[in-house]
């Protein structure tokens, strides 16, 4: 068997602020080259913690208590600071959640889009400008010169997210972590952005970790899915198989709950309390934590 791009093995972590409450419980998963994997769960399920661990930006309140994250065989958690920061932004990049706050309001698009090219690849101003134009063309932005000269507030939310996607793929990374990149957008724009990420990912041969709480989004973009609850992997497998023949009662309940199970009232059938009770019993949480 060939080496996986990312291999998370038995990762456990606790929150130092929450009285040592576990945030990840013995999580294992792998990601192959060029694959899109969904990381699904309600808030607090641990999906963001995994994403942050991959990017080397775990908050100081989270402490890893065991396990490894291997990226091409190298342990990210034990990597020296310098090596890690060299890797980040070049081989592992981020598409953030909210395009409103992810672009600096005081800097022009060109400066922000070319930061990585200039800092990581040492490109000159003219070369970076050419590359930026190419990238904008790739994410289907017309008038690239005008957009490069613009400030973020002059562009729409969808436009800004396209720029952030272009920026994430600018250095041909091996892994892109997409942190709920469509949550802040309205539904029509969401679809376009999902299609764009998929196309970029295929064109660059990049693997993507797609963090979301929306099974509908997962169905559209992911090859494989990992479902988490309270820091534990509940089910893991190919998207199609999992959505049509779920193995765990929680998964089926989520599918029944409709496209937006995170808002029970909007779903068709809210996840029954009995399912949560069973989940907690399986994981071993005694008291219900609100």
């Amino acid at each position: 068997m060939t080496q996986s791009l990312v291999a998370i093995e038995g990762l456990s972590a606790i929150s130092t602020r929450d009285g040592g409450a576990p945030v990840l419980r013995d999580v294992s998963l792998t990601l192959e080259k060029g694959e899109v994997r969904g990381l699904v769960g309600e808030s607090g399920a641990g999906k963001s913690t995994i994403a942050k661990a991959l990017l080397g930006i775990l908050p100081s309140t989270v402490k890893v208590t065991g396990g490894f994250i291997r990226f091409e065989g190298r342990d990210l958690l034990a990597m020296p600071r310098r090596e890690l920061s060299d890797l980040m932004g070049r081989e592992i990049t981020l598409i953030p959640q909210d395009p409103q706050t992810a672009l600096n309001p005081a800097r022009r698009i060109e400066a922000q889009l070319t930061d990585g090219l200039r800092l990581k690849l040492g490109m000159g101003k003219a070369a970076a400008h050419e590359r930026a134009l190419q990238l904008l063309d790739e994410v289907q932005i017309r008038n690239p010169e005008r957009v490069l000269a613009a400030y973020p507030h002059e562009l729409s939310g969808g436009m800004r997210q396209r720029i952030l996607i272009a920026s994430a793929f600018a250095l041909n990374p091996k892994l892109v972590v997409a942190d709920e990149p469509t949550t802040a957008l309205d539904v029509t724009v969401q679809k376009e952005i999902l299609r764009l990420i998929r196309r970029m990912q295929e064109a660059h041969g990049t693997a993507v970790i797609f963090v979301t709480h929306d099974l509908g989004v997962v169905a559209k973009i992911c090859d494989r899915v990992t479902l988490l609850y309270a820091g534990k992997v509940i089910e893991d497998g190919a998207t199609a198989g999992m959505l049509t023949a779920p193995k765990h009662i929680y998964t089926s309940a989520l599918i029944a709950a409709g496209p937006r199970y995170d808002r029970p009232n909007a779903g068709l059938e809210p996840v029954p309390e009995a399912v949560f009770r069973q989940l907690r019993a399986e994981i071993g949480i005694a008291e219900r934590r609100v």
């Binding site: 953030p96 600096n104 800097r107 990585g116």
Partner: protein, 336 residues
């Protein structure tokens, strides 16, 4: 700010200034003690005194006095100083540059020192240095310019006498200046001996006025920077390999200066008010020092002129701050 906003502000400014004028005028007419009595010689006859009163318009009714005085002020004529027997405008023109140079030096010092310390504090956040810095800054925030001035007199004037205790320039230098902006003139005409001496005289009053400002800049800027540093765009830039210093200066600072700038403007107006007592303590020959002398001498025309000058500066600075804030933040206009 649109043109009509600006016009509106200017109109309100004129109204405020008129209010200041009326209050000063009324206040000074109830001053006990006859200003004429202080300037006559013992040999003056009652007729002399009456003539003098008529000369200064003190024999008329109050509304008439105000009318005449106000029309004169509009023409830029503040009358003649009773204690110095010279034109009030001329006296103010001589002293105002000294005060302006001092105030601007203190402003530059306060903003620079505050900006550097806030940046360093932001770089050192989550270390033990950070709470220590906040604690010291809290003490600095509590100390007003008056106490700073006195403490500086003691520390840098007496115990470790590195700076001259009083005045603006060493009179033995006998440098001739064409303008009253000594500091600027000495710099552009390359009179470095005079420039150095002027700076040495200015250091202590400048520190007294600038340190409280620096403390306020540190607090507001640090808060704003802390807020900006947790934004996603800073995280993205960090992932792209930007150094911590560049993160603060290039990514966070520009988005954080807004509130600091507005507050600095407000503080600057307070600081101009603070020059009065600080100039007094260091015998610095500015407008504020002359103002206290004028009050002690019951010199009505001079007091009126000085107070109106301060009021005009205050209002002007406020309008300028609004203009700069609007100009620095184009998004405010874009978002309506």
């Amino acid at each position: 700010m649109t043109a009509s906003d600006l016009l509106n502000r200017l109109f309100m400014a004129v109204l405020t200034l008129m209010g200041v004028a009326v209050i000063v005028f009324c206040l000074l007419r109830i001053v006990p003690g006859d200003p004429i009595a202080m300037m006559i010689s013992p040999s003056a006859t009652p007729a002399d005194i009456a003539a003098l009163r008529a000369h200064y318009g003190l024999d008329l009714g109050l509304p008439q006095q105000f009318g005449i005085w106000f029309m004169d002020v509009l023409k830029g004529n503040f009358g003649t100083s009773i204690s110095q027997r010279r034109d009030v405008m001329e006296l103010i023109g001589e002293r105002l540059p000294a005060t302006l140079e001092l105030a601007f030096a203190a402003l530059v010092f306060g903003v620079l020192a505050g900006g550097v310390i806030a940046t360093l504090g932001t770089l050192a956040r989550r270390t033990t240095l950070d709470p220590a810095l906040d604690f010291i800054n809290g003490l600095f925030l509590a100390v007003p310019d008056f106490v700073w001035a006195l403490a500086l007199v003691l520390l840098l004037g007496v115990f470790w006498p590195v700076f001259p205790l009083s005045g603006r320039i060493d009179p033995t230098l006998s440098t001739y200046f064409h303008t009253d902006f000594y500091l600027i003139e000495s710099l552009v005409t390359f009179k470095f001996a005079a420039f150095g001496d002027l700076i040495a005289h200015m250091v202590m009053p400048m520190l007294a006025l600038g340190l409280p400002l620096a403390a306020i800049v540190v607090r507001t800027l640090k808060e704003a920077l802390a807020e900006a540093m947790v934004q996603d765009y800073v995280l993205l830039a960090r992932l792209k390999g930007m150094s911590p210093l560049r993160l603060v200066l290039q990514e966070a600072l520009r988005n954080a200066v807004g509130p600091t700038l507005t507050l600095t403007g407000v503080q600057f107006t307070f600081m101009i008010g603070g020059t009065v007592i600080v100039e007094r303590i260091f015998s610095y020959p500015g407008l504020g020092n002359m103002a206290i002398d004028a009050v002690i001498n019951r010199d009505l025309p001079l007091i009126q002129g000085i107070v109106l000058t301060f009021g005009a500066i205050f209002i002007l600075v406020n309008i300028l701050v609004d203009l700069i804030a609007g100009w620095l933040n184009p998004r405010g206009a874009a978002h309506g």
